[in-house]
Amino acid sequence: MSSTPHGEPITGAEIFVRSLQAQGVKHLFGYPGGAVLHIYDALYKQDQIEHILVRHEQAAVHAAEGYAKSTDMPGVVLVTSGPGATNAVTGIADAYMDSVPLVVFTGQVPLPLIGNDAFQEVDTIGITRPCVKHNFLVKDVRDLAATIKKAFYIATSGRPGPVVVDIPKDVTAHRCVFEYPETVEVRSYNPNVKGHPGQIKRAVDLILSAKRPMIYTGGGIILDHAAAELTEFARLLGYPVTNTLMGLGGFPASDKLSVGMLGMHGTYEANMGMHHSDVLIAIGARFDDRVTGNIEKFCPHAKIVHVDIDPASISKNVKVDIPIVGGVKSVLTDLIEVLKATSERPDADALAAWWEQIDEWRSADCLRFDRAAEVIKPQFVVETLWKLTGGDAFVTSDVGQHQMWAAQYYPFDKPNRWINSGGLGTMGFGLPSAMGVQFAHPDATVCTITGEGSIQMNIQELSTCLQYHLPLKILNLNNGYLGMVRQWQEFFYQGRYAMSYMESLPDFVKLAEAYGHVGMQIEKPGDVEGAIREALAMKDRLVFMNFLTDPTENVYPMIPAGAGQNEMILI
């Protein structure tokens, strides 16, 4: 147990630091301000925790998300009260939507001033309530250590998520004896990890009876580190696997059982397979509207098994036949065990016919693109990056067309390598999240695939990258448009391109250089490979590659809004 020797009282700020140390925190992403100055002073006096100074609080949270999404550690953030807290809210909401384990500490005005509209006061608890797993206002220094312990426990257990701890400035000055609790119990919170054995048996019976099965998995596989179990499960059965945007890498994309991503911009074979399936095995996925398309038309023939740690995710959008509440890793392990113990096997003939059908859909080659084009095709850039990194880089992305191309043309074989903002769809996520990944994996190749719109939403972080020598590789797929918006305007608004043209773009090469990095401009398809190769070779420099890509390229295939999964637009 961590405690102060001889029971000597220390300040709340020191308790904060000691608690984080006891919690094993190595990196803290943050930005100082009045309400947290006592804490910064305490941080200054120690060297166990590295504090990373970002340039905007939103970026601190995204960096912590990248850190958490690429590891099995929670991300930790410290910001000041008022604007510090409100700037962090977008990141917190992002983490909430994608179930990212974060603990975000916000400074607050001193207790006697709360409610007085004091300088830099906001009701952080009130503002963040709808977008956190839980939040705490610490009103007494004697509760501080235990609250921090609880915050980490809640953030990282069950369905993970962000927890905010709001700490008034005077609490960080008050003193008490420090003791970091070894265990934590929250009587109202007992996440259920183990799946119900009866449900697991029923599920196996249904799974084995399938003639046209589909395994549909999401971010839960990544969050629960269950890729190995999923892979064993799928191979045991020989069933096709599709991943959501959040679940990419949860099953090796190069495996012949993989039919790729599903959903709005998923593959034809994945979506057709979903639509025609008779048994759908959903694991750690939540039937998001970008996945299901028109819910009325979703999987009309399928009986559905749904495994999820969060009971509220089950039968929320789609009524399921066999719900299993539990951690996906634990439930998959049990499913594998039951499958191995039974002598029954899947219907081989039916399965062979199903695969034949899937291969026919595959032959539509829905991800083909024009390889002879005179302009740089964004797909080609991503594909080349994949080739040159051996498919083994960490890739973060922003939000837009480039995000979809990254997901489509950089097939991941490993989990926790693909880091993006799925639920909230936050432009500005890419660069700061990559910083977090690089801190967690200092020697790894970390790439950001972005667009000229998104990158400008947190471009100031190029400064942070210089300060901490983060050798990120930024691939800006610069189509001169808010491309995803432009695509929708082309399809659904008869080409009225309202506000989707990014005029007055900066010179990104000069901008990168101004921040102390290497900038490259790539204008011809023939230069793409050489440029990426050169950039990757600069192991210790951040390289900003500005690719001038086809301004009119669209993301295909696509399920238009309101359509079913079997109504994809191919190229």
Binding site: R129, P130, S188, Y189, A312, S315
Partner: protein, 163 residues
């Protein structure tokens, strides 16, 4: 369908707003809500009346259970239960109405708890529809002001909601 959900939750500041915030954020209805500490002062009990399809009620109970401050809950509508609501009603009591109102109060087993020349305050307890009936019987001419507690409810027999 109308459902009464009883919730045991941590008696912490902010716990109530987590519940009401959940309802507004997800577009669920709250018809009535009462809350007070239980015999264990660290625990509050909330009685919440809502309505929705089976699927919505299932989501409501799941989302409530997901709130960290919620310890336990019970959808009382599933089984037989006792439901009571408390009302204080200020009624015009002049002329011939004076006698009439008193008689009605007696029939409904209400108690007159305040008397002036022009008005009575009547205290009445019962199932919500009984209170509705009393208000309807008096009619808008006589009713000056009402305050209702919202229903309280408890399961009959051995079923209990306790920690």
């Amino acid at each position: 369908m109308r459902h009464i959900i009883s919730i045991l939750m941590e008696n912490e500041s902010g716990a109530l707003s987590r519940v009401s915030g959940l309802f507004s954020a997800r577009g669920y209805n709250i018809e009535a809500l009462t809350v007070a500490p239980t015999e264990d002062p660290s625990v509050s009990r909330m009685t919440l009346v809502t309505n929705g399809t089976e699927q919505i009620i299932e989501q409501i109970t799941k989302q409530l259970n997901k709130l960290i401050d919620v310890i336990k809950l019970l959808d009382l509508t599933q089984d037989s239960h006792i439901e009571r609501e408390h009302m204080l009603i200020k009624v015009r009591a002049t002329g011939s109405a004076r006698e009439e109102v008193k008689r009605m109060a007696d029939i409904f087993r209400g108690t007159v708890v305040d008397v002036t020349d022009a008005s009575y305050i009547i205290e009445l307890t019962g199932a919500p529809d009984k209170l509705d009936a009393f208000i309807d019987t008096l009619g808008p001419k006589l009713v000056l002001e009402t305050v209702r507690s919202g229903p309280l409810a408890i399961a009959r027999g051995g079923r209990r909601l306790a920690i």
